[in-house]
């Protein structure tokens, strides 16, 4: 794969990850603030189904099935031709539809910067903030061992 193509794919995947992690409410709010176009032809879904989650024996060994998780997916096409997909945990159909449109808009050079700046960047910042807060709250429960010297030398 050429370098540019690989970079594009990695970026697109990161955008999809951000959208999947974010709540439907946050996406709708930012979408409306940015005034992004929400018209697109629905090619599939939004529909809810299951994925079977896999873990590994002992953490790093052979894979095994843990159980299912609810996932909602959608595929859309813009009038300009770009096809966008979304798969996200949960059953939020509106989120799946908007995230698929966002994926399609991101592939359109005329919209990429707008999607990045007005939608993805604020979502990413909110997720990072929440993650940092969770990490800091957990870190506050870290045990600092100290040794007590007993007896006389």
């Amino acid at each position: 794969m050429r370098g540019q193509e690989a970079r594009d794919q990695a970026e697109r995947k990161a955008v999809m990850a951000t959208l999947a992690q974010s709540t439907g409410d946050d996406i709708v709010r930012l979408w409306n603030e940015a005034g992004l176009p929400s018209e697109a032809e629905l090619l599939r879904g939004p529909e809810t189904g299951l994925v079977t989650v896999r873990g590994r024996i002992g953490g790093g060994g052979a894979p095994f099935n843990i159980g299912e998780a609810a996932v909602t997916r959608a595929t859309v096409r813009l009038a300009s031709g770009q096809v966008g997909h979304c798969y996200a945990l949960g059953r939020d159909k509106q989120k799946a539809r908007l995230a698929a449109i966002a994926d399609a808009l991101w592939q359109d050079p005329a919209h990429r910067n707008e999607v990045e700046a007005r939608l993805v960047a604020p979502l990413r910042a909110a997720l990072a903030k929440a993650r940092d807060q969770r990490r800091a709250e957990t870190a506050a429960t870290k045990v600092d061992f100290f040794t007590m010297v007993r007896g006389e030398d």
């Binding site: 090619l43 599939r44 529909e47 595929t75 096409r77 031709g81 096809v83």
Partner: protein, 203 residues
């Protein structure tokens, strides 16, 4: 039209009701072997996959049903992507692993016994073959009898596999194991379940 678009367009317009209609037609055709069940055009798959075979695949296949494609279909990346997108079915490594097989050129197809025949305990685990044929009247006539046929039924599917009558007799002998066949023309389907026998016609 690029490959991405071709691979994504042309699925069921109304997934639930279209799939139910196709399923009903297949069920009726299996229950009345040799009887034609008309089927409207529900899908627009990339060639050489026919609309009828495409609709059957969309109705019956999913993530849990490995699918085998004959060389003519296998050669088309677009067909593979289209089936992958709309059904999620994985491609079977060998015909013996397949739950369903799509055959665009039955006249050149491999022997029936190369597909999964099921087991004595689980005869339902055999491959269901979907054969694309141009019509059911211009080939060699097959006189059918067995469960679901009051006396006899006759169909004459075109472009059938070589030595089909002999192969079918062997398929009958493997009962309860054995494959089932769905014949798909552009406007109808007819079925040959493993319980149907082909009577040899007196010349």
């Amino acid at each position: 039209m690029d490959i991405v678009t071709q691979a994504i367009e042309g699925g069921f317009a109304d997934p639930v009701f279209d799939a139910q209609t196709v399923f009903r037609a297949v069920m009726d055709a299996m229950a009345r072997p040799g009887k034609l069940q008309p089927l409207p055009v529900f899908t627009r798959p990339p060639t050489p996959l026919s609309a009828t075979a495409g609709a059957i695949a969309l109705a019956l296949c999913d993530n849990d049903t490995p699918l085998w494609l004959d060389p003519a279909l296998q050669a088309s990346a677009t067909v593979k992507s289209w089936l992958g997108f709309h059904t999620g079915a994985p491609l079977a490594n060998t015909p013996a692993d397949a739950h369903f097989a799509l055959i665009a050129t039955p006249a050149e197809m491999m022997a029936l016994d190369g597909f999964s025949q099921g087991t004595q305990d689980y005869p339902d685990r055999s491959t269901t073959l979907i054969l694309e044929v141009s019509d059911l009247v211009s080939g060699a006539p097959l006189l059918l009898e067995g469960p679901g046929i009051e006396k006899t039924a006759t169909i004459a599917p075109a472009q059938m596999p070589r030595h089909f009558v002999e192969q079918w007799k062997q398929n009958n002998q493997r009962f309860p194991r054995g494959v089932d066949i769905i014949l798909a023309t552009s406007e109808a389907i007819a079925c040959l379940p493993r319980t149907t026998r082909i009577k040899t016609m007196e010349a």
